[in-house]
């Protein structure tokens, strides 16, 4: 059988990786649109602190991940209206979370491998339960995104126009950040807190360079996420080296090629 799908760990990696790739690409499309990449980055580091804390207490890493990311998303959304410099506020949360994470790791010295797996992911170490959870969160997340799709589109391109037509943009902002938090929480243990952009931002940014429509761009983003994840897993299985490295490399390569293609197309149009 190709790609080692006869092994349980590879099947779990494919299920969890695909689920995270699809949800990450769909949510990431709006993250890049709304210029909230920094918030997503901060949430992944908050997730790292949460996971480290949960491991220290002997609880499931997911408990810490969901608790910390959801609480931070709530805090970010509620203070957004008051913080003039939102990036500064996010940076503060990010810094504090990393400080906590270092403390938790310092206190829990028994297993350095667990820290590595939170930071850089362990896609081939995914359990059946993890794969199931990732798939369930992916489906629920996609459903939530479908429900808020139209107001989110409107508010992302024209927040004041959306407000004027009765869209509660603050509530929408909160709902979207909670969705980002949930996405980050399932992605961190698999792709890693530091490599999360490979699936959250890479495919979405590539799609926006290639497609000039929202619906088409989102479908392309999800397809790219799947291609990057599957190719990365296949390359790791057949060639070697960590799957996370392959996925990050392919995500970067796709983005670079898309930028090149777009600049060439623009040059042609300009002639």
């Amino acid at each position: 059988m190709i790609l080692g799908l006869e092994y349980g760990f590879m099947r779990h990696a494919f299920v969890a990786g695909s689920a995270i790739a699809v949800l990450g690409a769909a949510v990431g499309y709006f993250i890049t649109l709304r210029r909230q990449a920094f918030a997503a980055h901060a949430l992944s580091h908050v997730g790292f602190a949460g996971a480290a804390g949960a491991i220290l207490l002997g609880a499931s890493a997911y408990l810490g991940l969901f608790t910390f990311t959801l609480a931070s998303a709530l805090g970010l959304a509620l203070t957004a209206g008051r913080l003039r410099e939102r990036d500064v506020g996010i940076g503060m949360v990010l810094m504090f979370a990393l400080g906590l994470g270092v403390l938790f790791l310092n206190l829990y010295t028994a297993n350095a491998q667990s820290a590595m797996s939170i930071l850089f992911g362990s896609i081939v170490g995914v359990t059946a339960a993890q794969a199931g959870l990732s798939l369930a969160v992916c489906l629920a997340g996609l459903a939530a995104l479908a429900v808020m799709y139209r107001p989110l589109c409107f508010a992302s391109f024209n927040p004041e126009g959306a407000q004027a037509r009765g869209v509660n943009t603050r509530r929408l902002d909160l709902l979207f950040l909670l969705l980002v938090a949930v996405t980050v929480a399932i992605a961190v243990p698999v792709i890693g807190a530091l490599l999360i952009f490979a699936l959250l931002i890479g495919p979405a940014a590539t799609a926006q360079a290639l497609s000039r429509s929202v619906g088409g761009g989102m479908v392309l983003s999800m397809a790219l996420g799947l291609i990057v994840t599957w190719s990365g897993l296949a390359a790791a299985y057949t060639i070697g080296y960590p799957a996370s490295t392959w996925i990050a490399t392919l995500s970067f390569a796709a983005y670079a090629l898309a930028l090149l293609w777009r600049s060439r197309r623009h040059a042609v149009v300009a002639e």
């Binding site: 709304r34 139209r150 107001p151 589109c153 391109f157 126009g161 004027a164 037509r165 000039r212």
Partner: protein, 286 residues
Amino acid sequence: MNALTAAASPDWAIDAEGLRCLLGGRTVVDGLDLRIASGQFVGVFGANGAGKTTLLRALLGLVPVQAQRLRLLGAEGVSRRTQVGYVAQRDPVGADSFLRVRSFVAAAWQGERWGLGWSQAAQRNLAVDRALRALEIGDLAERGMDTLSGGQRQRVRIAQALVNPVRMLLLDEPLSNLDPQAQQRILLTARRLCSEQGITVLMTAHDINPLLPHMDRVLYLAEGRGRLGTVDEVVNGPALSALYGVPMAVARDAGYVFIHPAHGFMAEGAAHCCDPDHAASHREGA
């Protein structure tokens, strides 16, 4: 039928008495009486901070508003604000740069409703086509937002505000940074929307001259007060002097009007712009 019942008739797009708009706890507009008939083109003028934007946003329910009487499009309060299209002064820079015009306009269609709206794709396309036609930019439909000129972009933004059925259009400084030709195109379009579709247009601007041939009424805001009327009623020395609280004069030349303080420019303004020593000390301080 007496004057009072006529006042409440739905022919008024805006019927307000004693309108008071607040911005951050500060009263920006106070005691404003507005009666704007449906299908009229009204130019809204006044200095920076006079409350032009706040008034538009108040009519949309985005900032708190108090009034002895306020009816918008024939209904009490601002409940009919969903029948109002709004084009803000600015929009998030670059968010839409990769989109094509058609997708940008479509993004607002029924944007207040939940869900994907896939089943109504045909309706959405019709609405987008209609809005693009109304702004005479059907030829731009497949262009990228990043390839538009300033004037084209402004027309696309107005098309987005029109993609949902609206009876009133609030345009906040749509002419700023546009060349005279692009300004004329926007003004002619606004005029056409009024006369052909019966849409009421409120447009804020700084220079009254480009709007003179097109608008039905002038609303001048100053010092928290406002005066609505025809150009001749409002744009004259006595009316503007009462509004500003200082003697104002209006000079007319070759169809243009120039509004200025009656005794030259105000002393405090002159100190800032014309006194070289003063300007130099400002620069040193900065």
